[in-house]
């Protein structure tokens, strides 16, 4: 079973409250915010490694990011992936989800074939959930997202989280799966993994290394354009209640009463 796993480096979600915007230039400042592996992608990688451990084969990471994301991919190798391809080139910059999925799909095609493509259901920064299904379209593979449980054998059974329940599917690879965080608990990286990663390679892929239509990559290949960026004013001028716990509780109940959610006889 050859498994491709899509991994995206993102600014650490723990620090999003620190993102500020330059009001003059309309540019986001991410200074001092570390880049980490997208949290949901770790679950995808964990699942990929589990499939490999059960069924044999290999796990290959694909990521489109600047060169300095190599460390994050190396961490993926330490978790148990076998190989990583980092798609890094100025020509890829400015890509929206369509151009990103095209570029990833072309690389996957080049270094494939793969039976399964695994990805996290959404990224912490964009949260669009678009790339995995679109990679499927470019590769003519069906895709399923929101996967919360998986069973594997000759065919795959997966359960997708939907409103009010789960839909169970039977799937015959090759296929694209996007998983949710609830599917597993990713392993910690141990020293054995780190030592093993020493001999595994992160290959940097430039635009010339894969056969792509230049009109489909980067900004040129992106049908969407980003307009203005604004910081929405969602702030409220609240009042602070202080006092003893009893007084504070009274203040809360007063607020609930004014909001009209406390009915007669409730208290």
């Amino acid at each position: 079973m050859r498994i491709a796993c899509l991994v995206k480096p993102v600014p650490d979600p723990e620090y999003y409250n620190r993102i500020s915007i330059d009001p003059v230039r309309g540019i986001l400042t991410r200074a001092g915010i570390p880049v980490v592996m997208n949290p949901t992608d770790r679950h995808a990688l964990e699942e990929a490694i589990r499939i490999k451990e059960k069924m044999g084969g290999e796990v290959v990471i694909f990521s489109m990011a600047p060169d300095d994301a190599g460390g994050i991919l190396k961490d993926g190798l330490a978790m148990g992936a076998d190989e990583a391809y980092l798609l890094s080139d100025r020509a890829f910059a400015g890509a929206d989800t369509l151009a990103t999925s095209y570029t990833l799909a072309k690389a996957i095609e080049q270094f494939g074939p793969f039976d399964i493509i695994l990805a996290g259901n959404e990224s912490a920064d964009g949260s669009t959930s678009q790339v995995p299904p679109q990679v499927g379209v470019w590769l003519s593979m069906p895709s399923l997202a929101g996967i919360i449980r998986m069973e594997y054998g000759e065919s795959f059974r997966v359960w997708c989280d939907v409103e009010e329940g789960r839909v169970e599917y039977e799937v015959t690879p090759p296929v694209v799966f996007a998983v949710k965080r609830g599917i597993n608990t990713p392993r910690y990286i141990g020293i054995k993994g780190i030592m093993a990663a020493k001999s595994k390679k992160v290959s940097i892929i430039r635009v010339g290394d894969i056969s792509v239509d230049l009109d489909r990559i980067g900004l040129n290949g992106s049908p969407t354009r980003a307009g203005r960026i604004v910081v929405p004013d969602i702030g409220r001028k609240g009042e602070t209640i202080t006092g003893s716990p009893g007084e504070i509780a009274e203040g809360i109940i007063e607020g609930l009463r004014k909001a009209g959610v406390i009915k007669e006889g409730m208290i």
Partner: protein, 382 residues
């Protein structure tokens, strides 16, 4: 000179940091409050290979070395210096077995110690004090083919959780009339290995420290480490290079904790409508903590790099230990000042860091002992 960590060491740091943020940071205050040593977390660290860095691969470790060990201790101590010293102490039995053990002893103990199946400890200190090592009251007598050990050890970290303890004893007097000290590898379940009173410590409370009451404990010749009369050399070398570099990494972790907590507070807290970081007085404190950290880092990792290269590093380890434990106290104090009233509220961790920092000073030799080592070497060799 090369001041860069290797890629593997950087990966290790990220891996341990992640583990510490998820498994240690959320519980550190509670462990401190309840005076609880989380053995289960130490075991988990063992499974991840974090306890076996100084053990070569042939004995089930990873052979990443002492710098890797210090990285692990620093990252753990960033959130819990108490757990840091429990982890640090573990190697005080690993290193001597590796350096002085017979092939049989190495095969028997190292794989299990490297993976955390066994936790280790070192028992040398007695009620009379730790620095007067030679004056051991614990005795081992050879009777009917067995060593019979009697005595009392105190201030022993991991005393109750260690599966394997290196026990220092007096086995007689040598030809020069000096006490002859011998170290024994003793397992917890050996009859006569009495786990005594637990100390209620000021700091480092996520480690357990207490007494061992040894009564007619019998072990065979195979328990002797490095041969009869080698105990003093083994224990001094272990404390001098392994213990002190470990203590310096603990101090370094505390300093980084102070630096990070203070910085976070100063960035978020506003005064006169601006973040605290706009005030120069606050910048001075942050600069001071940063300097403590950078100096501490250089001292610690120089000592461990020497150790990894097989070069003697007792003086370097002593300097790192002296600087980092003292600087940790100052950094914690400075950070409490920076935070004003919040600094003394236990909701913030810095008060704990101060207690932990103060408790690191006596462990592995007081600051004055460090100065004697450093001073002596300077006068003789500099």
């Amino acid at each position: 000179m090369d001041f860069k960590f290797s890629e593997e060491q950087e990966m290790l740091r990220r891996a341990v940091r992640e583990f510490a943020e998820k498994e240690i940071a959320p519980h550190a205050a509670e462990w401190d409050e309840k005076d609880y040593c989380p053995v289960e977390v130490i075991k988990e660290m063992g499974e991840l290979g974090f306890l076996g860095t100084i053990v070569p691969e042939e004995y089930g470790g990873t052979g990443m070395g002492y710098t890797a060990r210090a990285v692990i201790i620093e990252e753990v101590s960033r959130y819990s210096a108490g757990l840091g010293i429990a982890v640090m102490t573990h190697s005080l039995v690993v290193a001597p077995i590796l350096n002085y053990g017979t092939e049989e002893q190495k095969k028997k103990y190292l794989p299990k110690l490297a993976t955390g199946e066994y936790i280790g400890g070192l028992a040398s200190t007695e009620p009379s004090g730790g620095s007067d090592l030679v004056n051991q009251q614990t005795t081992a007598e050879f009777k009917d083919g067995k060593w019979v050990i009697n005595g009392k050890k105190c201030f022993i970290t991991n005393y109750d959780i260690a599966d394997v303890t290196l026990l220092l004893t007096k086995t007689g007097v040598n030809e020069k009339g000096r006490p002859e000290l011998t170290a024994f590898i003793v397992k917890k379940e050996t009859p006569g290995f009495g786990i005594g009173h637990k100390e209620d410590k000021l700091g480092l409370r996520s480690s357990s420290t207490g007494d061992l009451n040894i009564t007619d404990l019998k072990v065979g010749e195979e328990a002797v480490l490095g041969g009869r009369g080698e105990g003093q050399k083994i224990v001094l070398a272990t404390i001098g290079e392994v213990g002190r570099s470990g203590m310096s990494a603990i101090g370094l972790g505390i300093i980084r904790g102070c630096l990070e907590e203070g910085l976070k507070f100063a960035k978020e807290r506003e005064l006169y409508g601006k973040p605290l970081t706009n005030l120069q007085a606050i910048q001075f404190m942050i600069a001071e903590n940063r300097m403590y950290y950078e100096i501490g880092k250089l001292l610690t990792y120089r000592a461990t790099t020497l150790k990894d290269e097989g070069v003697r590093c007792d003086v370097e380890s002593s300097m790192a230990k002296l600087h980092n434990t003292e600087a940790a106290v100052k950094a914690a104090q400075r950070t409490i000042e920076l935070m004003g009233g919040y600094g003394v509220i236990n909701q913030y961790p810095v008060g704990r860091y101060l207690r932990d920092a103060m408790s690191t000073i006596s462990a592995g030799g007081t600051s004055q002992i460090m100065e004697i080592v450093i001073g002596g070497d300077t006068i003789k060799n500099f």
